[in-house]
């Protein structure tokens, strides 16, 4: 089996339009969540989110390209430019033939669906733009990435709600690890911040109207975000041979299913995913210094996740830091694990643990070190990144410093 390393990363999210600005946001504990701005927002009860302000598609893509790119595709392509440029890779010949792209998304081209349902149902129009289908399909971002960067190997899209990105990165990891692909572009993208996107979530009554405060006793729900993060996963020997700048090693991955409830998380499913990732990476629980938690800010998630961590880590949980960066960039649903992996890599590379901001009151059900409100300097050599989806699908990545 090959060792797998990360040789490029790129992002756009509410904290920044690139990796350095996003990491600065993590270090500062900056709040990227604010009032939402889009048509009919006044008809929503939830009016906050981690929206990207200032990104104009026309500044980055041609009119022809935009006719095919839903916002989730635009964000993925934008983040991929940064990641692939950092890696220094150019996909040609044999490398292009065998490299591919696996992305996670839950809603795909939801903005396109929302706009066009509006046109035909609300405005009573009888025709829609001819490219609605290729814009809204869930694999649009992965396909356009393959087209733009000449990736001719295995490419597909994974949809497992809030675990989509982690599941996608796990597939990319295994494709490189098994030798099927020398390089995989992976990560996720989501853009659900539109009237229909928020209205549907409102119905579940899991959304906060004021802030995302993971693990804080007074938390009152999740806050949505949008954006993308893209990574270059590469065979370690290949990366070494070309003297690439290696950001971290992807050491292990595990997925489990709760097989119990369509929305309520299970401690057992989460715990099995974490212990599975440790086992796959050959790590002992004492090796892990930091967990980027799923940490949605709902009571159901936070209590269950903390209980699962306590079960897996036992006495080692005392020396463990966990944090939820969703408090800063919001919950990117299918793209969330990808943006959160940036914080996991930052911990390994820079020795800075991103904080859980908005933390106000200790909760006895979450009696772990949640790195409240202020980033912390700490040397860690192994980290986990958790994602637990509606539908009881869990995916955990284990990373190691290199």
């Amino acid at each position: 089996m090959k060792r797998v390393v990360i040789t490029g990363q790129g992002t756009i999210n509410a904290l920044g339009e690139n990796v350095p600005d996003t990491l600065a946001g993590f270090r500062e504990g900056r709040l990227g969540i604010g009032p939402l701005s889009f048509p009919d927002v006044e008809r929503l009860t939830v009016r906050i989110g981690g929206q990207i302000n200032g990104f104009r598609a026309e500044d980055h893509f041609s009119r022809h390209e935009i006719s095919f790119y839903d916002r989730f595709t635009q964000l993925a392509l934008f983040a991929a430019r940064e990641a692939i440029s950092q890696s220094g890779l150019i996909f040609a010949d044999a490398l292009a033939e065998s490299s591919g792209v696996v992305l996670g998304t839950a809603g795909g081209g939801l903005q396109t669906q929302d706009e066009n349902y509006r046109a035909v149902y609300e405005q009573g129009k009888n025709r829609v733009h001819p490219f609605v289908v290729p814009r809204l399909m869930n694999n649009a971002a992965a396909s356009h990435l393959s087209i733009v960067h000449n990736l001719r190997g295995p490419s597909f899209t994974v949809a497992s709600a809030c675990a989509s990105s982690n599941h996608a990165m796990g597939q990319a990891f295994n494709l490189v690890r098994s030798g099927q692909a020398p390089v995989m572009i992976t990560g996720g993208s989501e853009s659900m911040l539109c009237f229909g996107g928020i209205k549907a979530w409102e119905g579940l009554r899991v959304m906060s109207r004021d802030a995302c405060r993971p693990f804080s006793a007074n938390r009152n729900g999740m806050v949505q975000g949008e954006g993308a993060a893209i990574f270059v996963f590469e065979d370690y020997d290949r990366a070494r041979a070309r003297n690439a700048d290696i950001l971290a090693e992807v050491a292990g991955f595990a997925m489990t299913s709760d097989a119990s409830d369509i929305v309520m998380p299970s401690k057992q499913g989460a715990a099995r995913a974490m212990s599975g990732a440790l086992r796959d990476a050959g790590m002992a629980s004492a090796d892990v210094g930091y967990i980027n938690a799923h940490g949605t800010g709902t009571i159901a998630n936070d209590k269950t996740e903390c209980a699962a961590i306590a079960e897996v880590f036992g006495a080692d949980a005392d020396g463990l830091m966990i944090s939820s960066t969703k408090s800063m960039h919001g919950h990117l649903i299918g793209g969330t694990g990808a943006v959160e992996l940036l914080a996991a890599i930052m911990a390994l590379r820079e020795g800075v643990i991103a904080p859980t901001i908005g933390y106000q009151r200790a909760d006895p059900d979450c009696a772990l070190d949640v790195v409240p409100n202020t980033a912390r300097d700490a040397k860690v050599t192994a980290v986990l990144s958790n994602a637990f989806a509606f539908g009881g699908l869990n995916a955990v990545l284990a990373l190691r410093a290199i």
């Binding site: 006719s67 025709r127 733009h129 001819p130 490219f131």
Partner: protein
């Protein structure tokens, strides 16, 4: 009549990324560099502009009732559809 011609030319020119003055009425869509997807976009824009329904199936472009062989035939097809629509509305 003139405005229908001008509007169709404008739509085709935008799709072909050309100036209206550079478009020969006898030209085919293909010769202007407009591929099959581009053609679908042109038809959509014409439908939106004139509020008509153009009989066209990309699976059988040659079999449609609408002659797409040149800009001139497209313009006369559009004129015909607009006249038919006016008759329906008046009748």
């Amino acid at each position: 009549m003139k405005s229908i011609r001008q509007e169709v030319l404008k739509i085709v020119a935008e799709q072909a990324v050309l100036d209206v003055s550079d478009i020969d009425l006898a030209a085919s869509m293909e010769s202007l560099g407009i591929d099959s997807l581009g053609l679908v976009e042109v038809i959509f824009a014409i439908e939106e502009q004139f509020d008509i329904s153009v009989p066209f199936d990309s699976g059988q472009p040659a079999n449609g009732a609408f002659d797409l062989s040149s800009i001139e035939t497209i313009i006369s097809g559009v004129q015909h559809l607009i006249e038919q629509k006016a008759l329906l509305v008046d009748g």
